[in-house]
């Protein structure tokens, strides 16, 4: 099993005083490949990161970088023909004394894994419209998770569903519980989605582009809600987004991904104010800013994201990288270089190679 060198042991001293010394969830060298007729797509190719209790880990990157697949890999719900080909996903047990378990060692469809899904780790993701079935009331779909993971009666589950809806700020939860998803606005749907994810009081919430389809004012509401709930329940959150603004506002730690690889990670402030990887630097420069002077041009990154089948050799970013070293970057994949225990970058410009 390939090991990534980034953080060799989960116990470390964090920069921004993590609430716990050992990570709640530790992903190591995760590889998820899609074997298609056209070739193998290495959607996630050796990604490692840690999620600490009560904190928010932001995973950012453009389309096709593998951030969503990483999230699904954690839950073990990657669609065919995708398959986790390697890595470890260590989940700290509820009781501190019990050893952490490697989720990838559990049978995918086994009861243990299913008990973790929804109960321990919940998922909220984009397209709140499509993320619900139209054929069942939202109450039904929330209660389902409750009934699945507890011995609650139908009535109790329903009461819990109403309570959850109230908690996420859905007005008239007693009435709404019997409505269908299409009867709700986008913002409400995302709240309901949140209620559903929180139904079993999970420790970890994976929010996959939770606000992408929403308008800004609604996005603001939902992000606020997410922050509130996290605070109230001490949730750990993995926030997956392409929106650097959202990451800046929400995340404590950030992983930047590009074509299936984590190119840089570190505390949010450092990522934004001291980016190391040329991709992170360029990405930040190219973001249009509401604070910009009107009609100012943006810095750009040359070229476009390669097609997943035409993944460049060496460092996948090298064709677009202004600092690419000929004969090195286009040949060899750069190793992950740990600058500090909580700060790493995959680039030949740093570490031994430089």
């Amino acid at each position: 099993m390939p090991q990534t060198p980034m953080v060799d042991h989960p116990d470390h001293e964090a920069g921004r005083s993590p609430s716990a010394t050992s990570p709640l969830l530790s992903v190591r060298g995760l590889k998820t490949y899609f074997k298609l007729d056209e070739g193998i797509v290495r959607a996630v190719d050796g990604v490692s990161f840690d999620l600490f209790a009560g904190r928010t880990l932001g995973i950012v990157g453009e389309s096709g970088c593998g951030k969503s697949i990483s999230a699904r890999s954690i839950l073990g719900i990657v669609d065919r023909p995708g398959k986790i080909e390697g890595g470890e996903i260590w989940l700290q047990q509820e009781s501190e004394d019990s050893p952490a378990i490697d989720l990838l060692q559990l049978p995918h469809e086994g009861a243990e894994m299913r008990a973790i899904r929804g109960k321990e780790i919940a998922l909220v993701f984009q397209e709140p419209m499509a993320s619900f079935s139209h054929y069942y009331t939202i109450g039904n779909q929330i209660m389902e998770a409750i009934l699945l993971h507890s011995t609650a009666s139908d009535a109790a589950a329903r009461a819990r569903a109403i309570e959850l809806l109230g908690m996420v700020g859905v007005p008239n939860p007693e009435r709404r519980v019997d409505e269908y998803p299409f009867q709700l606005s986008g913002g409400l749907r995302q709240r309901v989605m949140m209620a559903m994810a929180l139904a079993c009081d999970p420790r970890i919430l994976i929010a996959d582009e939770p606000t992408t389809a929403l308008d800004v004012t609604t996005q603001a509401q939902v992000l606020n809600l997410l922050q509130r709930i996290q605070k109230e329940r001490g949730l750990s959150v993995i926030l997956i987004t392409h929106d650097m603004g959202v990451v800046a506002e929400m995340a404590d730690d950030v992983v930047v991904m590009y074509l299936g690889r984590a190119v840089e990670k570190g505390p949010v402030d450092e990522i934004f104010h001291d980016p190391k990887h040329p991709y992170t630097q360029a990405l930040l420069r190219s973001i249009p800013s509401i604070m910009a002077k009107p009609r100012t041009k943006l810095a750009t990154i040359e070229g476009s994201i390669p097609h997943p089948f035409a993944r460049p050799s060496g460092c996948p970013f090298h064709p677009r990288c202004p600092d690419a070293i000929k004969g090195l970057c286009d040949v060899t994949e750069p190793p992950t270089h740990a600058l500090r225990p909580d700060r790493a970058v995959s680039c030949f410009l740093y570490g031994d190679a430089s």
């Binding site: 453009e62 308008d215 800046a248 009107p294």
Partner: protein, 335 residues
């Protein structure tokens, strides 16, 4: 010099009910919208989904027939109300009004090569000489910074950014005066989005284009537009120069909108204004100011009386009873 003037534009969609499908009401998708666009400038039309901004652009393009109002288009010194023209009367104006879509390829024939796609509007408008057409297509590809070899490729071979460039080339083929760009970069990745924004800015400088830029992303709008019009539930609530609107908003909705945009800087700890409740229903808008149920500053007056669009000077118009009294926060400037 005004190129486009929209006056009192309305678009109502009937709501039918019952056995005989009687019209029992209207969705006022666009309700009395007026603005003008000067030649060579960019006016951004912003607002959240369902606010009517796309309906406005469709009415201008006459993909929809306005229920009322004028769409005055000035060409060679002569002003014509497009809203009154029929299909035949519109035809000479079509080439002067072009559209750039979110994804131009979803509406284009995947079996046509790029050269033919770009050349199609030329052919339709009478450029029958194939060699001449190819020459023009080359020029256009050059303008949008695409290699000329791409002419002989099929659309599916292109990335999102390249497709958008092809869409822009197609729109430019007939030297239009006005380009209505409907969310032209919202489907693109950040790194590519910047390229297209820059391209649009460059083209405007080079070709003297006029843009009506329909978008929801205020950051993008800040980069491209000269003036910004904000819509809420079918109405214009504020229109001003970009600088004024972003830094000195006069409408509480604009203020909320600006504050809600996440800033890509973990140190910029601005206070978000969280609007309560939902966007009003255009089929059943609230009395008075449509925004009042969500407005922190709303008074009884706001509930009863619909505010008019008033000019605060320098073309800064706002639809708020309390525009003069309120001290609203805009976004800070980058240092």
């Amino acid at each position: 010099m005004t190129l486009l003037e929209v006056k009192g534009l309305k678009k109502y969609f009937p709501i039918r009910k019952g056995l005989l499908r009687k019209v029992v009401g209207h969705v006022k998708a666009v309700d009395d919208v007026s603005f003008s666009v000067k030649r060579g400038e960019t006016l951004a039309l912003v607002g959240e989904s369902g606010c009517g901004k796309t309906t406005v652009s469709r009415c201008i393009m006459r993909a929809l027939d306005p229920s009322a109002g004028e769409v005055n288009f000035t060409l060679d010194g002569r002003t014509t109300d497009l809203a009154t023209l029929d299909g035949k009367g519109l035809k000479p104006f079509r080439r002067h009004l072009q559209m750039v879509f979110q994804d131009p390829f979803s509406s284009l024939n995947p079996r046509m090569m790029v050269g033919d796609l770009i050349g199609e509007p030329l052919l339709i408008n009478g450029m029958s000489d194939a060699a001449e057409r190819r020459k023009r297509v080359r020029e256009l590809l050059d303008v949008v910074q695409l290699p000329v070899e791409y002419m002989n490729r099929f659309p599916h071979a292109f990335s999102g950014g390249q497709r958008q460039r092809i869409g822009i080339a197609r729109a430019l083929a007939l030297n239009p005066s006005l380009i209505v760009a409907d969310e032209p970069v919202s489907a693109l990745d950040v790194s590519v989005q910047a390229q297209i924004i820059n391209l649009l800015l460059d083209l405007q400088d080079q070709l003297g284009l006029t843009y009506l830029f329909v978008a929801h992303d205020l950051s993008v709008v800040k980069h491209v537009s000269d003036r910004v019009a904000v819509m809420y539930v079918g109405q214009l609530v504020e229109i001003a120069s970009t600088e004024d609107l972003f830094h000195r908003p006069k409408h509480p909705y604009t203020e909320a909108l600006l504050s809600a945009v996440p800033k890509p800087d973990p140190r910029a700890k601005t206070e978000r204004i969280i609007l309560q409740r939902e966007v009003a229903d255009a089929a059943n808008p609230p009395s008075g100011c449509a925004f009042h149920p969500r407005c922190a500053h709303a008074t009884d007056l706001c509930k009863q009386q619909r505010p008019a669009l008033v000019d605060l000077g320098q073309g800064h118009q706002v639809r708020c009873h309390h525009a003069h009294e309120l001290d609203l926060k805009g976004v800070g400037s980058l240092a």
